[in-house]
Assembly symmetry: C2
Homo-oligomer: 222 residues x 2
Amino acid sequence: MRIAILGGTGDIGQGLALRWAYDTDHEVLIGSRDPERARTATEEYETELDSHGVERKINGFANEMAADRADVVVLAVPPYHVGDTVESVAGKLDEGTVLVTPAVGMNGDDDGLHYHPPKAGSVTELVADRAPDGVPVVGAFHNLAADRLANLDLELEVDTLLVGDDEDPKETVRLLADGIEGLRVLDAGPLANAAEVESVTPLLINIARYNGDLHDVGIEFH
Amino acid sequence: MRIAILGGTGDIGQGLALRWAYDTDHEVLIGSRDPERARTATEEYETELDSHGVERKINGFANEMAADRADVVVLAVPPYHVGDTVESVAGKLDEGTVLVTPAVGMNGDDDGLHYHPPKAGSVTELVADRAPDGVPVVGAFHNLAADRLANLDLELEVDTLLVGDDEDPKETVRLLADGIEGLRVLDAGPLANAAEVESVTPLLINIARYNGDLHDVGIEFH
């Protein structure tokens, strides 16, 4: 499979890129608004992988070009850029491309972080609203601690939750996620259930803040 | 410690009553709007404990009388009864009583359950708004599967999250929760962080629905 990670120079993008390159044979493309930044990031990722004994070629592109070449497009951009990013690559997406969204809207105050969804109900549903007709959207990878994901020396041993309305694209993302070692995939139902998934992210950050012995907190359901 | 479980005839109340009676020496009082129902429930709980080799006396009362006698009052009532229940026992609460709220507002549709907080932002904050001045409120036990809690043959091995603005009452509830075997207590910060804790409950129910091998789902953070 060919996976484009748009915003692949950011922290969650880096983690997904490293894990897929390290654990699987999928081809990873890094997208950025600035193709030069994308290429700089891919060099860093290749060096990191090389230091773990894995020689992989990762290519960097402008977001549009990365999306054009991919079977799966991951929107690893901040929540306030998600809508614009979907629009910027819309012409490159078709019914054969699966759009994956891990972003979460949050705001903070002195007490902690709070879930702050867009009017669509969740960022995942906002992406579904903005995606071209027929392009399937799956929410995934919302609740992963970026630093833990990007550190190949750490075992994950956490769960990630999928939401989506269509079974085939959900199965595609399930297979991609299953390929990452230590990541268990659970189904949280249709897109309408995305808010309950996204709102775990500020909770994890609050728990890390208020419990001194927990860092880069992940979640397991059982 | 003397713990009154208001709505202690319901499913989460039953689970907490059984676990505290089985695992600790705390005195457990069952409250109900109907004292006769409370007494019937205590007989059932005593029989269940007896069948597990534990002889314990549990007393049943009207909610007001249970609250009057207790150091800690748990509002194990449905979310739409929480406000009324606090008001009905308000005269029996003082600064020495800790009010504990596990209720969560949810609604459902074909897709699943969704978090549906009251205008206060969360049920926990609604309780804090309605509690008499000076009576401390702690949110806890929101995300426990009632059937698993009430089945003494099952190991819990799950986490529960505390929210509260005052350290001493939070510490009291932490000790009570720590007394239940297999329950780990984590701090999720002040009352303002309650919504992110409460919204995990519909998520757990959705996960149980969409993953055939998971029932009475609990959560662990690590």
